[in-house]
Amino acid sequence: MPGTPHIEVSNLTMAYGDFVVQHDLNFVVQKGDIFIIMGGNGCGKTTLMRALVGLQKPAAGTVYYEGEDFWNVSANDQERLKRRFGVMFQGGALWSSLSLAENVALPLHEYTCLAQARIDEIVSFKLALVGLAGFEDFYPAELSGGMRKRAGLARAMALDPDILVVDEPSSGLDPLNARHLDDLILELRDGLGTTIVVVTHELASILSIGSNSIYLDAETHTMIATGNPQQAAQTGDAKVRHFLSRGEL
């Protein structure tokens, strides 16, 4: 259903004590968007992501998921809303005492009534999707950083969430794997209708997959642009064009 506001961020202010990281953020993510949160190092991208997924309470403002005010509903409702999104962390954040298959299977065990054999099939398929077919029995410590990252994405997709929030998906990946991941994000959106929020500063990804975006500015501590990244690169704010052209414009 394109057109329904899926996630709505309203007057959001993020702060650590007295230090305001970002203030007065207002934007809407539509269902089926690939929404890019971009900005330079230290501008508060990850902090904003933490507010979106319920890890860090904003200093002011709130986030609505299909009209439900995430930060002002009961703890039970928050848990229910949380189950609708999958989160991929920067370093993968795999549980080191569990094998890859167990990492991906845990949410399925907890929240579905599927039989063990079905779960095994689904887990293998998800690992294959991120290019890790055959790595079911490996432990995170036995894998490279890029593999851990991709396994983290497989775990985030475990429950086929409506909303997938990914933090720096392609940093640390080789060009082929980065491209595969971008393609996968597009296919998940097109096939499953997943809404995807990507926190990144990788230009190639921003321009090739993003359908909407915001740019967080580290100096003014707020968003200075919103809209399709390709358009922003052509006609947007001077700072955003500067950023999207690696400083050449």
Partner: protein, 388 residues
């Protein structure tokens, strides 16, 4: 037909999944998928089609999904099983009847960049080889300990000749961390141990009417042995584990490798200040523990066993000689060195995962307490022989 719905339910909106098989000619099979194929319900295994797929004449497989209401990776996992089996049995699969999204995602799963699995696969070992490996690891531990001891000794040498690279401020930070911040726990434990010693002594000495000698027992016991031993064990649990966890986490973050690449000795920079801090602070804590223990003995004697305040005080002074303090302080110093050595050893040799840090911390405490006990026995025997 199999499924959780009948075909009549198509029109009224399906809640469950539905699977039908239809033979097409002699060698073809069409699979009809309908309803909701989503993870929130129990889905079938691809093996429900195994009989049909396994028959010898089957050469072509088609799909139809006109009435597929909703799908997610539950359907994809099912189809991926079917496709894998077909590929292995020379069956041509025509996926055109599936939704485009399904086809794309199925392609993605089979088209990921190549990975070399076998090179990474850890060898699966049987029980005997695991026991063997554990034994060899255990035996290797001793040369490792000696090697580390050698490195620390060399580092001490560099310190004495003024060539060790470490920051004074790190040393003082460690001193603050291991000394003043441990005072509360040392106070509580020494007080209670002093109290126990006094009660134990009172009970036995009453039999011979020599209760005043509680003072001697508590004073000599606390100053010579118990003060140092209790402090050593507290520090092993508190500081030794912290050292191992700190250095282990630095190992995980490659901070120690960063020192190495810069040619800075991680031993000088990280281990030396920690060992020095403990060797300096544990004797002081030992002295403090002995004082607290004797105070506890005094309070017990005065309030419970009616021994006069000054009587106890003079008896304590009479019992204590300077050599007792020397013994206690030297034990404190040695225990401090043992705890620091065990903590830093386990931290520096830590693996690169969260579990390894936990193991390093556990092992640091166990090794620390073991070394303390061994040194306590050795020193007691040596001091006895020397008549100190």
């Amino acid at each position: 037909m199999i499924g959780t719905q009948t075909s009549d339910a198509y029109a009224s909106g399906l809640q469950g999944w539905l699977l039908e098989k239809q033979f097409k000619g002699d060698q073809g099979l069409e699979i009809i998928l309908a309803g909701r194929w989503c993870l929130d319900q129990a889905l079938p295994s691809w093996e429900v089609l195994k009989t049909e797929l396994g028959s010898n004449d089957l050469r072509h497989l088609y799909f139809r999904a006109d009435h597929l209401a909703a799908w997610d990776t539950g359907l994809l996992a099912f189809l991926s099983g079917v496709l894998k089996f077909s590929a292995g049995h020379d069956i041509a699969v025509d996926c055109n009847g599936l939704p485009a999204g399904v086809q794309h995602l199925l392609n993605m799963a089979s088209a990921g960049p190549e990975q070399n699995i076998d090179a990474r696969r850890p060898s699966k070992a049987g029980m005997f080889s695991r026991i063997g490996v554990a034994t060899i690891d255990f035996c290797r531990g001793f040369p490792e300990m000696l090697h580390f001891l050698g490195e620390v000794t060399l580092s001490m040498g560099r310190l004495l000749t003024g060539r060790a690279q470490f920051r004074r401020s790190d040393f003082w930070l460690e001193v603050e961390e291991v000394g003043p911040r441990a005072l509360v726990i040392v106070t509580v434990i020494s007080f209670l141990v002093g109290l126990i010693l006094a009660y134990l002594g009172a009970d036995q000495l009453r039999l011979v009417g020599a209760q005043i000698f509680i003072a001697d027992l508590v004073a000599i016991g606390m100053v010579r042995e118990v003060g140092a031993l209790m402090t050593g064990i507290i520090i092993a649990g508190r500081t030794g584990a912290a050292f191992a966890a700190q250095l282990g986490t630095m190992q995980v973050n490659e901070e120690i490798d960063a020192f190495r690449t810069l040619g800075i000795s991680a031993i000088d920079f990280l281990v030396l200040p920690r060992i020095l801090a403990l060797v300096l602070m544990v004797p002081l804590l030992t002295l403090y523990a002995a004082f607290v223990g004797m105070t506890a003995g005094l309070l017990v004697s005065y309030f419970i066993f009616d021994i006069g305040f000054f009587e106890y005080y003079t008896e304590t002074l009479r019992a204590l000689e300077i050599k007792h303090f020397m013994v206690g302080l030297s034990k404190g110093g040695v225990y401090g060195a043992m705890v620091a050595y065990a903590g830093c050893l386990r931290g520096m040799h830590c693996g690169r995962s969260a579990e390894a840090v936990g193991e390093a911390a556990t092992s640091a405490v166990v090794t620390g307490i073991l070394l303390i006990t061994i040194m306590a026995s050795l020193m007691t025997i040596i001091f006895y022989r020397l008549g100190i």
